[in-house]
């Protein structure tokens, strides 16, 4: 499978055209979608027109960027003007945004060609993509298994070879966990590095858009394309660092890099043998590359899921209050008053998991419970952030597994919501702290399913994060070593 940077080189050298790349993408989509169901919407006519425009620009010496003409897929909770953006919900099944998300605009300005909108858990709430109102996506490595979530469609599209890269979003691990389960790279940027304008809001203090790619170099290239200040997002950082791809130059070892290894990420039980073995090998490889491995404690790790499921659901209950059938979206007709219209439209338009989280958040914020639940959770969030700050006082990076196990079979965790929530144990605290992190492939289980390694860095330390990941990726030799048989 060619990476985006390989495709960009081939375009630059004249070896291929954008048209050829987009046609190839749609051939793969035609062949694989019956199995993978990565996409909710594909935009073949628009993509081919954009490809032809790209080829014409390049021919006349006017390529918009080195990435002009490279295909990409976008998670369907990111607004694309004129193209349905459904959030995998019946509520927005026919919603066509009148504007582009800032990240969409930035991709267009650089000439990237969007081939379609990928599947997700409804409103980004889930860890398996089983909560999509339009059917689940499948893991390319074993289609009976889930690709993870909520950015499961993006992960499957990249891992399955339908597109070289895609955008996802991460609120509690929704880029990193599917990246781990599908054997690709997924980056959650520092909160504020990438504009959230046009990302349908789930939890406003946790959400970030990020790259999902075949390798670390592509992740850095895509992050360069989408990152940076945006006046349309008041939470976007005004003067963040840039030049993530440039920072990779010469990355070959980890001399002088201190890596914290939290005891809580390497528990005696709760992580599968294969995952533990694979991650241990990666830690040893980091040591061989010259990194100093420092044991640390992050004692509030065990409280992260409870904290998250109060903070995120509270924010979600507020953000999803807008889905009432009044101005857009699904509306139940013929109701006798506006409150009935709100209640019936929401009840019929929103899925079970979404409604559960709205109920949770509303309860946590309601009179009499606010202090005990929401406010308490915000204080624990401070303690969780302190764990990170103490680790980053001693080390440059934090290392650990991304998920406790490899991809599970569809339906296996449907009976008990808590079972699904506990999948997020290693990813969730990063969003609460707001720092950056990624998942990268580090091996396979005995059953041939991908295993992901997580690396975290402090606020706006993406250059350090990506450079170290690049060195480790080369040394591990897992990326590009095998591909799913589809």
């Amino acid at each position: 499978m060619k990476t985006a940077h390989q495709l960009a080189d081939a375009l630059a050298s004249g070896e291929t055209t954008s048209r050829a790349l987009v046609e190839s993408s749609f051939e793969a989509i035609r062949r694989l979608e019956g199995t993978l169901h990565s996409f909710i919407t594909t935009t073949e006519a628009e993509a081919l027109a954009a490809a032809d425009a790209s080829d014409a620009r390049r021919k006349s010496g006017g390529a918009l960027s080195p990435l002009d003409g490279v295909p990409i897929a976008i998670k369907d909770n990111i607004c694309t003007k004129g193209v349905k953006t459904t959030c995998a919900s019946k509520m927005l099944a026919e919603f066509v945004p009148p504007y582009d998300a800032t990240v969409t605009t930035r991709l267009r300005e650089r000439g990237l060609v969007c081939v379609g909108k990928t599947n997700l858990d409804e409103f980004a709430m889930g860890s398996s993509t089983e909560h999509s109102a339009f059917g689940r996506s499948s893991n390319p490595w074993n289609p009976a298994c889930v690709p993870g979530g909520s950015s499961g469609g993006s992960a499957a599209a990249v891992a399955g070879g339908e597109v070289p890269w895609a955008l996802g979003s991460d609120t509690g691990g929704s880029i990193r966990q599917p990246a781990s389960l599908c054997g690709i790279v997924g980056v959650k940027p520092t909160y504020g590095l990438v504009s959230r304008y046009g990302l349908v809001a789930f939890a406003s203090s946790l959400d970030q858009i990020g790259p999902m790619t075949l390798d670390v170099e592509d992740a850095a290239l895509l992050l360069d394309a989408i990152a940076g200040p945006d006046h349309m997002d008041s939470t976007s950082a005004p003067k963040p660092p840039s030049g993530f791809h440039a920072a990779l130059a010469g990355a070959k070892d980890l001399k002088g890099v201190r890596i914290a290894r939290p005891r809580e990420f390497f528990p005696e039980t709760g992580v599968s043998k294969d995952v533990r073995a694979s991650v241990d090998v990666a830690v040893e490889k980091a040591r061989e590359l010259g990194a100093e491995i420092i044991d640390v404690n992050m004692p509030h790790t065990e409280y992260a899921i409870s904290t998250y499921y109060l903070v995120a659901t509270a924010e979600a209950s507020s953000n999803l209050a807008r889905y009432d059938g009044a101005q857009y979206g699904f509306r139940v007709k013929g109701t006798k008053n506006v409150v009935d219209m709100f209640s019936q439209s929401r009840s019929q338009g929103l899925g079970r998991e979404v409604k559960r989280r709205i109920m949770m958040g509303t309860h946590a914020l309601s009179a009499g419970y606010f202090d005990a639940y929401y406010l308490k959770a915000l204080k624990v969030r401070t303690l969780i952030k302190r764990d990170y700050d103490e680790a980053f006082a001693k080390a440059d990076l934090i290392i650990g597994p991304t998920a406790p196990d490899v991809a599970f079979e569809a339906g296996a965790k449907s009976a008990d919501p808590m079972a699904m929530y506990l999948c997020d144990i290693f990813t969730i605290s990063l969003n609460l702290a707001g720092y950056c992190g990624l998942s990268m492939p580090c091996g396979f289980s005995q059953s041939g399913m991908p295993i992901g390694l997580q690396l975290f860095a402090g606020a706006f330390q993406e250059q350090k994060l990506l450079r170290s990941a690049k060195a480790l990726e080369s040394a591990l030799g897992v990326v590009g070593s095998r591909y799913p048989k589809l």
Partner: protein, 94 residues
């Protein structure tokens, strides 16, 4: 704190969600289980700990008071389920 059927019905009203009797029973079980797990936060002493509502420090973010190009009424109404002139049409409010 056990969650009762009445709690669930109350939260449903606040959330503008309709719930059948079967759903009330199901939400009661699910919320009891989830909030039961969340009780573990009470083990932590958070006396004197400031709450963190946003991950990175931010003060009031202003922009210059300049007129920009807004959405046209047509664009803003394009997804309206029901429309009357330049307005979103809804059922009786009062």
């Amino acid at each position: 704190m056990a969650i009762t059927h009445d709690d669930v019905r109350h939260v449903a009203v606040l959330s503008r969600l309709e719930v059948t009797d079967e759903e009330v029973a199901r939400y009661t079980d699910e919320l009891t289980s989830i909030f039961g797990h969340i009780e573990q936060l009470n083990k932590l002493d958070t006396e004197g700990v400031a709450p963190t509502s946003r991950p990175l420090p931010m003060q009031n973010v202003f922009r210059a008071d300049e007129v920009r190009t807004p959405l046209t009424p047509e664009a803003a109404l394009a997804n309206a389920p029901e429309q009357l002139a330049d307005c979103f049409k809804v059922p009786q409010i009062l």
